[in-house]
Symmetry: D2
Subunit: 339 residues, 4 copies
């Protein structure tokens, strides 16, 4: 960390600061230039609050050289993390496709879709039991019963299940869930992240709508600081001024995360775009950009279903997509889906 001090900084102030920094366990390196003085900090600067330092009257600006995350940092863990989910590997050269409906609605529905997506190439099953909804009057999910039905679908198909948690209080219900998802709106629900850090189970952490990549990594760090190193990151679109798509899918987050961190990263093209017709091109693009997997909404279409999410694709479209993905994966040095 580098502090640029103002020309007006007084010696006593600077000495005072240096003493305090030494007390925090840091070494310092003072360099007096003609026009400015630079104070370099050496050691574990993750304990130092950048904002506090930049608030000092005599500090012109503060620049962090080392990233503030440690466990998630590729510098300290050069190899890709590969996460094992009931025998399926995710990360490194392994690519997984998670598919399923927006919400669990009934046993028949979830079991039918589970079978269809498995046949079409999915390697894991998604489905919402607890649903974060903008409106308190909208359907909030089947909750505990939804979790039970997901486990039924797992029993029938063997697909590991991925589903969202909305409160640490619900944790006991998630004992048999294979991957616990933290939604975009809870990415900085730090009390929840701390609780998940005590588990030894994969966590799928979605990027918040207005969160930077560094903040996403810091939230992963909250989980990892508790000892749970199985964090899967997920890019699902950020909020911008463009209104045609629901959010703007930031695919450059993939190579950026790969550079900064060893954690696997997957992409959710369904929620990012909010438009079924955009799922295929964005899924292919995500694979070409180096993602480690995808999470895709696929709907059931029995004759009498009246309403389905505008972002869900049919099992048929999904089957074509997995085939195309398998043609792109070798170009970016990945194995076939699920291998």
């Amino acid at each position: 960390m580098i502090l640029v001090l103002k020309e007006s900084a007084k010696k006593a102030e600077v000495d005072n600061l240096i003493t305090w920094l030494h007390e925090q366990g840091l070494d310092t390196h003072l360099s007096n230039g003609k026009y400015q003085t630079i104070l370099g900090l050496v050691g574990d600067t993750s304990v130092v609050d950048e904002d506090l330092l930049s608030g000092l009257e005599f500090v012109e600006s503060v620049k962090r050289i080392r990233e503030p995350f440690k466990n998630a940092n590729r510098k300290f863990h050069p190899d890709d993390t590969v996460i094992d989910i009931c025998g399926s590997k995710l990360g490194g050269e392994h690519f997984q496709v998670i598919a399923g409906p927006c919400s669990v609605e009934s046993e028949e529905q979830i079991c039918t879709i589970a079978e269809e997506v498995k046949k079409a190439g999915a390697t894991m099953l998604r489905g919402g039991a607890f649903k974060p909804r903008t409106s308190p009057y909208a359907f909030q999910g089947m909750r505990a019963e939804g979790l039970r039905l997901l486990l039924e679908a797992k029993k029938k198909t063997g697909l590991p299940i991925v589903t969202e948690i909305m409160s640490a209080n619900h944790l006991p219900l998630f004992d048999d869930v294979d991957v616990i998802q933290v939604g975009a709106r809870n990415m900085q629900n730090f009390e929840l992240l701390k609780e998940l850090g005590h588990l030894r189970k994969p966590i799928l952490l979605k990027r918040g709508l207005a969160n930077t990549i560094q903040e996403l990594l810091m939230s992963a760090e909250y989980i990892m600081a508790g000892g749970n190193e199985q964090v899967i990151l997920c890019e699902r679109g950020i909020r911008t001024f463009e209104t045609y798509t629901r959010n703007t899918l930031d695919l450059s987050a993939i190579p950026v995360i790969k550079e900064l961190s060893h954690l696997p990263v997957i992409v959710d093209p369904s929620h990012a775009t909010g438009i079924a017709r955009m799922v295929r091109p964005m899924a292919l693009a995500a694979a070409a950009a180096g993602a480690d997997g995808l999470i895709i909404e696929v709907h059931n279409d029995p004759p009498h279903a009246k309403c389905d999410g505008p972002q869900s694709i049919t099992p048929d479209a999904f089957a074509s997509l997995t085939e195309e993905l398998n043609r792109i994966l070798p170009v970016v040095n990945k194995k076939q889906i699920g291998e």
Copy 2:
């Protein structure tokens, strides 16, 4: 709610949809134009999911005419809500100023600042006990002990206290807190909002960094749907591309909220800008724009304090500010601070 149907819509599909809408308790009104067919929905459309309808293959687009919030809606509650906090009124023609340090650090610190801000014109005391921090390695607040010290400061000064909650599990500790704050990062922590809806105590709900005004009102609706109608909204800056200030303070949110809702709205210029020098002009601007109050960080400055938030102003600067505010308030038909 208006649905524009595609020219290609088949009669059977449309009839099917109309039947389903009637089942949801809605009336419909079909209008066949030369180039498009329009289906108007009449009734309580807050139960209908806009996304589900727009996902139907034969629906061109969906337009909501009525806002999806009810309890927070000025149309159904034309008069300004005035909230009574230990005798201090907020909303309508009443303007309150909440002040205090970023974090509670010690009994001496919080009691000293409490007295100073009271003398300088503050009518309520703020101070963080539970601190949401981006980094798991940063100071997380004094937590339960911090709450106890805030109550000490209240005992000494009589100032009602405002402090942030981060998990519904901590609720028992907040029994004596006068106003419970929900931070920007938890604005869509719906499980927490539901719990707060069961209280009968004022909630200060901060706008999320990437949340629209409508989403803020929907989160207020979550609290109000539980029966707790004492919600104070707070604009504290949104995330944009501009990097000079920490966030971009959206003061137009004040007249917009005043138009859409009867709830009071206050402004946090300290967190919005992140720069102490910007607090005064933005506080004056907020008052001129019609805000019902302010929440401002004021720091203590004993001889040995080494680090203070870059966004905190001194008690002296705060005293000048409250004086200037009192000169602006009459222009916008508000009483003097605290009256």
Copy 3:
């Protein structure tokens, strides 16, 4: 176009409006619902200003059903536009790769790079002669002399040249340029667009940093309204809160543009990310998302070159990239580069 009228709308006002709309050559269709009145407009609504209508006191809201662009609209021109540039086809199943340095610096430099990128698979040459720079003190390009050197490089390699124009006054200098580029900052320089509409030459129109896809298409419409139908659109990143990459590359713009318009669309991963290491993954992703081409910065690297753009890749990296692109193109039904 649909106008939702307020319940308070008076008959005289509405009649007045309908008369005026008929004068503009539009048909209207009035539908009185129980709670609101809807006025449908039929005909060429591109002549009507949406803002003006929504400003009427008795109008609740205005919704455009048809897009405001005509010549660029796929509805009126279902087939992909294929543009012929000195025999090279761009659009439809044809994919082109434009490469070259940020700026033209000398005859040796531009000719050397031209040869290297040609050998490495580029089908067109880019190079800046007129450079839009944020600072008036920064190098503004070689201007007229730069154009002359580009033509030299074309003579030697046969590669068609693409270069940016910054003022209509410079048009006479661009007579022999094959594709004239309009930079992001000039996307809404409407007087310039009108001038380019009088040419019969391909225009490469870059999306502005804060412009929506619809605004990009409206700017294309400015050129096409003048009779010049050879417009190539270019996605080059939009401005968001994320600071790790220079801009956020919005690859979902590709399928969105393909749906709305018949015009070809290419991607500039170099300027979008501003980081050489991100060019390869984003280029592959763009191809997988269905782009019709790429424009990539490739630098020369003679022993004594001191400074080069952080976003430029080497000719070797570029050669690997074109090879990988050719493996992805068949998956999305495109021919090999340049075919």
Copy 4:
């Protein structure tokens, strides 16, 4: 400017860079820390391209200490610039209000409004002759004839006129215009800015929709570098994800600009919000935040006018507003409007 060099930097590379920097007229100061080497640059760093340096393989990061603008920089020009417009002063303690219609439509219209806004407290007249419109099919303004009518209105009322230029080619028509406006879309039309730098006439420079405050100051620098020091900056809203208002008015830009620059800054609440009802609160807020003036759309309302901008207020509302502004101005140490 500070360069942080990578640990892997080779001595030869660094020496090579230092030699090159000396050739550019800069002094350097090398500081070898334990973990990183820091190279400080001393002198006129505005000639150095930050991007070029950060692109060097062995450079970890670059940090600019001095702002890249000189003429606009308050450090080199501590006193507020006060601009004289036909005897009216703007800047420092002087506050001006520019008002008028969106577009000039006829002699009667512009002269009537000019008289009304003058009576209601305006000190300058605005009106669009050349109109930048998103659609080529929308009304493009009366152009040269519009300028003539503005001058008629000036003759009748004595109000100085402010109107927008869209191309340097139109400059001869602007000889008698008092203040030439550069619209948001042309803020980085650098060729136009250079031409305006050759004039000796006030330029009203609007901030672009996606431009940072620093970029706005750099565009002012383009004009000032040509010798024209009469630049008035204008905040008119930036593009964000919020859709209720047309743009998000960034009032914190006022104190930020005041800190960085000596140039006067005014606010356009009409275009920023796009909603007439929001003009009053945002205008009062702008004054309270320290703006040097306002530019406001006021419409005429003769009996037969059918359509008017949704963001224009009536002359009566405008008269009330100027009265309220005069009550706020003393709080922020400004004289009454026009004094």
